[in-house]
């Protein structure tokens, strides 16, 4: 059971995960028929368009030849029409094949990311920020789609939109390649220069927009404080300052965009092409119709001129997104599953022996030592940042100690089989996650084949049965977006019901919800008491009653265990501790 990846989907496809570019490439080629189709279609599409420019020139030559036949002209007109239809159809084919590729890349990469996340250990997930993961699975994956359609599609089109006319120009008269070649060089130079100037300004503009937005949002969210302190003028000045800076960047960007030298290059090239063409005409090397064809083919170069900037940006963004996704997929968590370790029922004795833990070089816990007997309830108290949650995460090895040892039943946790260890330790988090399913399904989530009786029994113990049956559909009530919204206290009791069903040997309960009314409070107290009575429980709580009646209390302060003992012991020797209880006289 224990392997590097805890989950593997059936029919998995291996992508190349070495670099972002290769990864994108392997995704694009997964269904080769589409990219091939795109290429073929794009070539034909540009061929038809460019050929029609030549056809127009031929028509001109025809009508300037004395004695021409209408039928011949009709033939040319029909050819033009036919090629236009061909251009349209191949355009559709190009667009559609790219669209398929783009949508599939989005779907497949999201699938790949998700399967990979599922396969990662609890250690990995315990350390991740959910917002980060979400952003990558939605925005970054979307960016890949956009990179293909329209990004890469336009790039392919532009590239061929340069190649095809060049080829046909060469067919007219190879010396005509002079002007287009020089133009392309100048185009590249001016485009790079344009990009270089525009980029910093665009970035500054985007950032300034973000700042302006954030400042505005802050002022509005805190409007009561703003008004209460008569700071309206101050906030106004702040906002207007931001808005003015934005205007400055906007105007600067507008100036750069207005100047767009590539367009000037095109005008120069256009005139030069005309000159070259007419000179050749004068020398008899070209017919006027061919000059017209030439000008038409030069005109085809107008499109790549204008579209390039936009498309390169998209590709850049796409690669950046791919990088972020790959980073997540390729993260390995170094924790060893220890397949050969101890696997047996836990009695519930937990010992911390001079435990220290540092995260990213910052010390979080220092020299923490205590002993817990099976079945005891340990209350952990301390201010935020004192290390309470981290301490509990060392027990089920979300993190590993950097000094000292954590022992379960006398054995170092690193010598336990990780799977066995974790399956017997449960954590009830503050922010309980419920699925958009029925209450019964949520309660029974961990236990396949749980009977309705068992579910109701657990709910009774957790003091949840009453409120569940108060809903119209009782246990079949849907929770979440499509169903009812539960209060914090209700969610907590559902989590406790779940824990009754899974019956862990060690329970870590993060109880930091607040009490609204005494009736609910009594129920929550009862539920917590019941769930902690049959197992070793680590309780991070603010509730004085839970603290006072715990078997042992650990007082943490900035990562150190400054005191521990029973309530009576602490009352006697700790002034800080007594102060807490003195207040509710």
């Amino acid at each position: 059971m224990a392997s590097k990846r805890e989950f593997k989907p059936q029919k998995e496809y291996r992508y190349n995960r070495s670099t972002p570019a290769r990864w994108i490439w392997s995704h694009a080629l997964r269904y080769p028929i589409f990219p091939l189709g795109t290429l073929l279609a794009a070539v034909l599409n540009n061929y038809f368009y460019s050929s029609n420019q030549v056809n127009i020139g031929r028509a001109f030559d025809l009508i300037t030849t004395p004695g021409w036949e209408s039928a011949e002209l009709l033939a040319i007109a029909l050819t033009i029409f036919g090629f236009a239809v061909g251009q349209g159809l191949t355009g559709l084919m190009r667009n559609y094949t790219v669209e398929f590729t783009a949508q599939r890349v989005e779907r497949d990469s999201r699938d790949e990311l998700y399967a990979s996340l599922l396969g990662k250990s609890q250690t990995f997930h315990g350390r991740q920020r959910i917002g980060d993961i979400m952003a990558r699975a939605t925005n970054d994956v979307r960016m890949l789609n956009i990179m293909f359609s329209p990004g890469l599609m336009l790039i392919i089109d532009s590239a061929l939109g340069v190649v095809m006319p060049i080829v046909l120009i060469a067919r007219l008269n190879s010396s005509l390649l002079l002007v287009p070649s020089i133009f392309l060089v100048l185009l590249a130079v001016t485009l790079i220069d344009y990009n270089r100037r525009l980029n910093p300004v665009s970035i500054a503009l985007r950032e300034q927009f973000g700042d302006m937005n954030a400042g505005l949002a802050e002022a509005i969210a805190g409007i009561e404080v703003v008004k209460g302190n008569a700071m309206e003028r101050y906030e106004w000045n702040k906002f207007v300052g931001n808005a003015r800076l934005y205007r400055d960047h906007f105007v600067r960007q507008g100036g750069i965009q207005a100047r767009y030298l590539p367009a000037l290059m095109f005008s120069l090239a256009w005139a030069a092409a005309l000159l070259h063409g007419l000179l050749l005409y004068q020398a008899g090397a070209l017919t006027m119709g061919q000059v017209i064809s030439f000008m038409g083919l030069m005109g085809a170069l107008r499109f790549p001129t204008y579209i390039s900037i936009f498309t390169f940006n998209l590709v850049q963004l796409g690669i950046a997104s791919a990088g972020r996704i790959l980073e997540l997929i390729n993260t390995e968590t170094e924790l060893d599953e220890n397949a050969a370790g101890m696997a047996r029922p836990i009695r519930g004795e937990v010992v911390f022996d001079r435990v220290s833990f540092a995260y990213d070089g910052n010390p979080v816990l220092q020299d923490v030592s205590f002993v817990t007997h099976p079945g005891e309830t340990i209350a952990i108290v301390g201010q935020t940042g004192s290390g309470k949650t981290t301490l509990t995460r060392l027990i089920n090895r979300i993190f590993d100690v950097t000094g000292g040892r954590v022992l379960v039943d006398g054995l170092d946790v690193r010598d336990w089989n990780l799977e066995s260890l974790r399956s017997q330790i449960s954590t009830i988090e503050q922010d309980l996650f419920l699925f958009s399913r029925t209450i019964a399904e949520n309660v029974a989530f961990g236990v396949t084949g749980a009977t309705q009786e068992a579910v109701e029994q657990a709910a009774h113990e957790a003091q949840a049965h009453e409120f569940i049956t108060s809903f119209h559909d009782g246990y079949e009530t849907e929770v979440g977006e499509r169903g009812v919204t539960l209060s914090g206290g209700q969610r907590q009791r559902i989590a406790i019901a779940r824990a009754f069903l899974t019956d862990p040997r060690i329970l870590i309960l993060d109880d930091c919800t607040s009490a609204i009314d005494s009736a609910t409070e009594d129920q929550i107290q009862r539920a917590m008491r019941r769930i902690s009575s049959q197992r070793t429980t680590f309780l991070i709580t603010h509730r004085l009653s839970q603290i006072r009646w715990a078997d042992r209390i650990l007082v943490l302060r900035q990562g150190r265990l400054v005191d521990q003992g029973t309530h009576e012991e602490l009352l006697a020797r700790s002034p800080d501790y007594s102060r807490i209880f003195a207040r509710c006289e």
Partner: protein, 604 residues
């Protein structure tokens, strides 16, 4: 050329202002820049001329060349084309740059106006307008409406171009021109129907995608839970089903939107083909080859401007909607209006409420005639169920809302006649969820008195629970609080808010106690801090803490906007009335007695 697909996403918006009003108002914002706009107009016209001039020159040139291909002629012709091309680029440069300047300034002005109105409004305004919407109106809608003008200006240039060209072509050969113009309805019809289809598809896709995304997000949030219960396969199946659905919807939308341009191209091709033939026949009847070529070029010139003209109207309407949203905010009148601006010095802190009538939105009456006298330096606790009117009283005293009838006197003076800014300097308000601005703890404490010295800030911080709480901050007073104070715990944020009040040293303190859970140590510090604050001023507290009601000089028990009991805690408990019931519901579990009797309670 994606203009045809622009703005398909915008939501419908019920309009109250007429188009004419909006347009007039938008124009008024551009009036200060009318000279620049004039130049922009001129540049557009010149650009159009240069733009049409080029093809015309070439066509004439072709005819010349046929009869007289001399070097001079060639040079003249190419020189002319070069000149027109460069001139066109130049006119476009000037026009775009000036437009950017004008638009930038107009948007700035509109933003200033909107924000001025927003910041000066009272809290009833913020109840009506969710903050997210306000932000998007100030930043996005203002931008959108300025771009309506750019859109219109571009449209005019397109129309001008097409008009000039049509006139010239008509002069050359009316029949061909008519043939060319006959294709116009086809182009417009195509554009419009595509837009309609695209709009429907986009809006449908947006709704479905939002739903699917929510489901996918749920699948992601649920990974940890699924793993801890070994339910990976189940959740994977759910995810895959949603992912596939998202693919279908996205594909359909993408394919639909990507159909338009190739089809347009085919239609253009049909146009060219017919012109080639008809034009060719026309040359037999006197049309010169050069002019024939002009008609060929014209199709390209016509086609795309026609498309942008076709999509103009709905984009224009969207722009007007954006303008309306911005103007709606500018026009929102504050309800709290002072009748005078009498100076306010250090107050004693005596507050008298006389028969106050108050309702938030005009529907439910919150205070049906409320009276209360508060003595200077008194600590008053307000208790009652939700909706009893406690918060309303606190907010009315803070002058955040306007009451409909009755009197509110501060130190015997009508609150409506006081200078509002000066009055606010005399009060300290801490809402239920204390709000911190990004910056340091020091900056936040200083927020109410920006001119306070560092020593004063330090001293205020130290007066709260002997400054012990500062040790819990990673860098003391210089700690960066993060966005909205996210680097600090709830309890620490409350302490900062209280220190802010201490520094300000107001005559009247108004607190809406938080109900969120805070660790016992920080809670002690908060309670000690509160005691310090309550000592030297009038304190009005919407109480949720047992220690608050115990220490209050007087407790006011409210129900349905009336006082039903008042007295000290002991007096009220002895009375065994509504207060005793409230106590049992909200305060009992905070008492030591409850803590000690815990074993009995949980055994039940």
């Amino acid at each position: 050329m994606g203009f045809i697909l622009d703005g398909l996403d915008t939501e419908a918006y019920d309009r109250n202002y007429t188009d004419r009003e909006l347009v007039a108002r938008i124009i008024s914002y551009f009036k200060p820049h009318k000279q620049q706009m004039g130049v922009v107009g001129l540049m557009i016209a010149m650009n159009s001329l240069a733009g049409t001039g080029g093809p015309i020159l070439i066509s004439k040139g072709i005819d010349w060349m046929s009869s007289d291909p001399s070097l001079t002629a060639i040079l003249l012709l190419t020189g002319g084309v070069l000149l027109l091309g460069v001139a066109g680029w130049g006119f476009n440069y000037a026009q775009q740059w000036l437009s950017a300047r004008v638009v930038g300034n107009v948007v700035l002005k509109v933003r200033e106006d909107v924000f001025t109105s927003v910041i000066n409004n009272d809290l009833s305004f913020y109840d009506e307008h969710p903050s997210g919407k306000i932000v998007s109106r100030v930043t996005s809608d203002t931008q959108d409406f300025a771009e309506t003008v750019t859109l219109t200006v571009n449209l005019l240039s397109q129309v001008l171009l097409v008009a000039i060209l049509s006139v010239v072509l008509f002069g050359i050969n009316p029949w061909l021109t008519l043939l060319l113009l006959a294709m116009t309805p086809l182009a417009v019809a195509l554009a419009l129907s595509f837009r309609r289809i695209a709009r429907t598809v986009t809006q449908h896709a947006r709704r479905v995608t939002a739903k699917i995304n929510a489901q996918i997000q749920e699948s992601i949030s649920g990974i940890v839970v699924a793993k801890s219960f070994r339910q990976e396969h189940a959740i994977y199946d759910t995810f895959q089903a949603n992912n596939r659905q998202a693919y279908q919807v996205g594909l359909r939308r993408g394919l639909t939107l990507n159909t338009i341009f190739p089809v347009m191209g085919m239609a253009a091709g049909l146009g060219i083909a017919s012109l080639v033939f008809a034009g060719g026949l026309a040359t037999r009847g006197g049309l010169s080859p050069g002019d024939w070529y002009l008609f060929m070029q014209a199709v390209g010139f016509y086609w795309w401007p026609l498309l942008s003209i076709a999509s103009f109207w709905s984009q224009f309407q969207d722009g007007l909607s954006a303008a309306e949203r911005a103007f709606a905010l500018i026009d929102a009148q504050p309800k709290v209006v002072q009748a005078a601006a009498e100076a306010v010095d250090r107050l004693d802190g005596r507050i008298e409420l006389r028969d106050l009538e108050f309702t938030y939105t005009g529907s439910e009456v919150v205070l049906p005639g409320f009276s209360l006298d508060i003595r200077p330096r008194e600590t008053l606790a307000l208790v009652g169920h939700t909706g009893a009117g406690k918060s309303s009283i606190a907010r009315l005293i803070g002058r955040f809302y306007e009451f409909q009838d009755g009197d509110l006197l501060i130190d015997g003076r009508d609150i409506r006649r006081l200078d509002l800014q000066q009055y606010r300097h005399q009060i300290g308000v801490v809402p239920q969820e204390p709000f911190l601005f990004s910056g340091t703890v020091r900056d936040n404490i200083r927020y109410g008195r920006p001119d306070a010295s560092d020593e004063a800030v330090h001293e205020a911080a130290m007066r709260m629970s002997k400054g012990e709480w500062l040790e819990g901050l990673s860098a003391g007073l210089d700690t960066d609080v993060g966005e909205r104070g996210s680097n600090l715990s709830m309890g620490q944020r409350q302490l900062v808010a209280l220190a802010r009040v201490l520094l300000k040293d107001p005559a009247i303190f108004i607190l809406d106690e938080a109900t969120a859970s805070v660790d016992p140590f920080t809670e002690t510090q908060i309670q000690e801090g509160l005691e310090t604050i309550m000592r030297d001023r009038t304190a009005i507290i919407i109480a949720h803490r047992l220690s608050t009601v115990r220490h209050a000089d007087r407790i006011i028990v409210m129900k349905n906007g009336r006082i039903i009991e008042e007295g000290t805690h002991d007096q009220l408990m002895a009375h065994s009335g509504h207060y005793a019931e409230l106590y049992n519901t909200y305060f009992r579990h905070q008492s030591l007695d409850y803590v000690e009797r815990f074993q009995e309670i949980v055994a039940a």
